[in-house]
């Protein structure tokens, strides 16, 4: 997020696109509700009529995967009606002319044909966004889990720069991150092309600095491969061994059957986890790890706030904190790693990472710190891009609408979209074992519109089989107007409803994110 979570409540206009905020980020949802109670305008763009969509002044129920058309259309209106922030565009950005030319064809009438949103609604929303003092954009996987995910994000960024709604309080471009420490994992360099703080592995001086700190001659310069490519490599035999810590790709990645097949082909698989997950079951060695309650450390949240995790109880059985296990593996492989505590590790991180330079456990005792925080005196940075973008000038990246990789056809006439439920989390490893959440919300269902249900002669509660070109699952149908005609929806939390057997592994060419939000399926009544 460019801005802190508290800023959401202060925005005059909230544009939430592809985010089921109140279910997936309930506490950020509270800020949205607070803003609405205070008189702010909320506009939600989502194919589903979610709770947050019901709260909105305008719900743009767009066709799945048509976000770029919608966003470009808004920009078209704002430019055509001369509502854009000329001062900001002139002083802070570049390539505006190219962007202007690119969005020219996205007239509201043209966009209506792609998105299904009435031209008048688009105009109203575009004007609303452009005219207010502070507008914020919230988005999550509804924007990113498309083959054009990166372009979707460009389109969002273009819109915010066009109106100057960035680099100031109560505005900004705010992706709400889905996992407790997905921000931190990225910050820490758990990515193929960067070390900590997004320092590129391709840069000689960066590598030299890390190599010297780590007591080595050199570090590999060639960028690594992403999850999808790893699984691809495993199935082709180029990847022989994998080490998986605290992840469950068998349930979380697209085309689950393919994932299982790929992991099965490995010579050696190590999984380090707190439960014997579907992925761990495929491992050669499983290492028992400590849960968050059994270790010290830090998480970095979606607004870049680094916060303490504190040990409350001893690890169960012989389980060990992940950091200790990693030290022991390194040591066993001839590279001694010795840290007295996670605080010690943070010292090393701070010394190698400019954006974490001023972060220490002593300071975190006083509360979380939002990076960049380059030195111990720095208070942290709640709002990014104030006065200047990190690259200097904000660059408009013109993008074009492309249709999702797999569109419905005669054989698979419906669009399947996946997401989250309020009572559960990710692959259900934790939330299915709480003694409470799974008791209250114990079975998953398929949301289907009454029109589609009527066509298929499906009643509420009927068992149905959902199939795509890659696989099928069975579950109960729930007839609801949350989904429009032509769309069905379910979550990926339930191992018994392994919906990722169906999803399309087609990926965004830049970020390699799979297109979970659109694949073509058919639904049949089974009993």
């Amino acid at each position: 997020m460019t801005n802190p979570i508290q800023d959401v409540a202060g925005a005059d206009f909230i544009f939430a696109i592809g985010t089921n905020t109140t279910e997936s980020h309930p506490i950020i949802g509270l800020q949205v509700k607070k803003a609405v109670r205070g008189g702010s305008t909320l506009v939600v763009a989502d194919p589903r009529k979610t709770e947050v969509a019901e709260l909105a002044k305008v719900h743009l129920q767009i066709k799945s995967g048509s976000d770029i058309a919608l966003l470009n259309g808004m920009a078209n209106v704002i430019i055509a009606e001369d509502l854009y922030n000329k001062e900001f565009v002139a002083e802070r950005t570049e390539d505006f002319e190219a962007f202007k030319a690119a969005v020219e064809k996205y007239t509201p009438e043209y966009v209506e044909g792609i998105t299904g949103i009435a031209a008048a609604s688009l105009r109203e929303v575009a004007r609303g966004y452009a005219r207010v003092k502070n507008a914020t954009i919230l988005y999550t996987m509804g924007i990113t889990q498309h083959i054009c995910g990166t372009h979707n994000v460009f389109a969002v960024a273009n819109l915010s720069m066009l109106c100057g709604h960035i680099g100031k309080p109560n505005s900004g471009v705010n992706p709400l991150r889905g996992q407790n420490n997905v921000q931190g994992a990225c910050d820490m360099g758990a990515l193929p092309a960067v070390l900590t703080g997004y320092q590129g592995v391709g840069l000689d001086d960066v590598r030299a600095r890390f190599a010297s700190a780590w007591g080595l001659e050199s570090l590999p310069a060639k960028p690594g491969i992403t999850v999808g490519e790893m699984l691809e490599g495993a199935s082709h035999g180029t990847i022989k061994g994998m080490y998986i810590m605290g992840e469950n790709p068998v349930l979380s990645d697209p085309d689950a059957n393919h994932v299982v097949h790929a992991l099965d082909k490995l010579d050696f698989l190590v999984v380090q986890d707190i439960f014997l997950t579907e992925t761990a079951q495929l491992a050669d060695v499983v290492l028992p790890a400590a849960s968050f309650a059994e270790k010290d450390g830090t998480f970095s949240n979606t607004e870049r706030r680094v916060q303490r995790v504190r040990k409350a109880v001893e690890p169960v059985g012989e389980a060990r904190p992940d950091w200790q296990i990693l030290c022991q593996v390194a040591t066993a492989m001839g590279y001694p790693m010795n840290y007295a505590s996670p605080a010690d590790i943070m010292k090393e991180i701070a010394s190698l990472t400019p954006s974490y330079g001023g972060i220490s456990y002593e300071r975190l005792e006083q509360g979380g710190i939002q990076w960049p925080c380059p030195n111990p005196e720095h208070p942290g940075t709640p709002v990014l891009h104030v006065g200047k973008f990190s690259r200097g000038m904000g660059k408009f990246n013109p993008v074009e609408y492309v249709a999702p990789a797999e569109m419905p056809d005669e054989q698979y006439p419906l669009v399947l979209s996946t997401g989250r439920r309020h009572f559960h989390y990710h692959t259900g490893t934790m939330t299915m074992r709480t003694g409470a959440l799974e008791v209250y919300y114990g079975t998953e269902y398929l949301e289907i519109n009454s029109a589609d249900a009527a066509k298929l002669v499906i009643c509420d509660g009927d068992k149905v089989k959902v199939s795509s070109r890659r696989g099928s699952v069975e579950l109960s149908a729930r007839i609801t107007d949350v989904v429009p005609e032509g769309l069905v929806f379910t979550s990926f939390h339930f191992p018994e409803v392994a919906i990722n057997r169906l999803t399309n592994p087609a990926r965004d060419s830049i970020a390699k994110i799979p297109e979970f939000k659109v694949c073509a399926v058919k639904v049949e009544k089974t009993a």
Binding site: L30, P192, V313, Y440
Partner: protein, 351 residues
């Protein structure tokens, strides 16, 4: 901003105009009991517990809703104030079960705190008592409306923190109770079980089902930490008894204040679930066999080292975790790059 100076219990204090007497007293460190007041919620002024004596005023004034004015002279514990508070407590206790013996909130209950402070041993009046059935048809929250003192904090928390408006006052007079629409149970309503009403309840009317049946409040050690679910980064207190996490309660989090969602507040049960892995496992002939750490670590080092040496570092790949700590992600990146010798590391940021 304009300021006013007033006298409280003989001491002078200057506060911004618009402050209440309660605000001023708290700023001075002077204790005033409150039941319906909460700094995060709108002022209700219904419980009358916070009455004080203001010189020249006809009646005792409620300090939570009375603005401090220039030259005001306030007594917070005068005989008249104490008598009023005692009577209020006696009236509340006249229709409140005296079951601190087994009440889950014993030790963390305002009604009890104030009864002890003012020496009110029981209800001073005999009369009708509520006989509501206890509502526990959901796995998260127990509602015992017999213990409700109608302070309305839950109503305001649901409306002003959670924005759901699930509960409100229903019926009239003695029959007044807090209920969802049509007087259903929470499970039958739109309730999302965030438990933010439980966090503000000053008595035992709303309790965390598991936590309050497993431990007395004074047996609990609280450890402040960060939620392991979504990326919002809410803070809360893990409640620990005898080396086990028995519950979660709100603290004043940087991001969330006291608000939590159902997963954060009630989703901790996995920590001590019997399915937790407690020993290293090695697959032999297709079956997992328990192993010692030494054996497992040696095997991992040998196999991964073998692949690195025979097939080259890029034949290894690593998935790190968006669920683990920063320190652990850093170490796995270091292990991958410095020991395995490859940049093949990624995690599920895209999922």
């Amino acid at each position: 901003m304009a300021e006013v100076t007033l006298t409280i219990n003989g001491g002078q204090i200057t506060v911004p105009q618009g402050s209440t007497i309660l605000n001023a007293a708290q700023k001075m460190g002077v204790f005033i009991p409150t039941l319906c007041y909460d700094p995060e919620l709108t002022i209700d002024g219904s419980c009358r517990m916070c009455v004080v004596e203001v010189k020249g005023a006809r009646t005792l004034m409620i300090s939570c809703a009375t603005a401090a004015t220039e030259g005001m002279v306030v007594e917070t514990e005068s005989p008249a104030v104490i008598e009023a508070r005692k009577t209020i407590l006696e009236l509340l206790l006249a229709n409140h079960p005296l079951d601190c013996l087994t009440c889950g909130r014993n030790g963390d209950c305002r009604l009890q705190d104030y009864a002890y402070r003012y020496g009110v041993k029981e209800g001073g009046f005999a009369g009708a008592m509520h006989q509501y059935p206890i509502e526990d048809d959901n796995p998260f929250i127990v509602r015992d409306m017999n213990k409700c003192i109608l302070c309305g904090k839950c109503v305001r928390a649901c409306a002003q923190i959670q924005g759901k408006n699930v509960v409100d006052y229903t019926y009239r007079g003695f029959d007044t109770k807090i209920a969802p629409a049509m007087d259903t149970t929470l499970a039958g309503s739109d309730c999302v079980f965030c438990g933010n009403c439980v966090a503000v309840c000053p008595v035992g009317a709303l309790q965390e089902k598991v936590l309050r049946s497993k431990a007395r409040t004074w047996e609990i050690n609280k450890v402040r930490t960060t939620c392991p679910y979504c990326g919002t980064g809410c803070n809360f207190d893990l409640n620990v008894k005898d080396g086990k996490v028995v519950g979660v309660t709100s603290c004043d989090g940087d991001v969330n204040g006291r608000a939590l969602c159902v997963k954060g507040r009630f989703g901790y049960g996995f920590i001590h679930h019997p399915d937790r892995l407690s020993k290293p496992l090695i697959k032999k002939d297709g079956q997992f066999v328990e192993a010692s750490w030494e054996e497992a670590l040696a095997l991992v080092a040998e196999k991964l080292g073998g692949i690195r040496d025979n097939n080259g570092p890029d034949a290894l790949a690593v998935l790190s975790s968006a669920r683990c700590t920063n320190e652990e992600n850093y170490l796995l990146s270091k292990l991958t790059r410095a020991v395995f010798g490859t940049n093949n590391i990624d995690h599920c940021a895209r999922l």
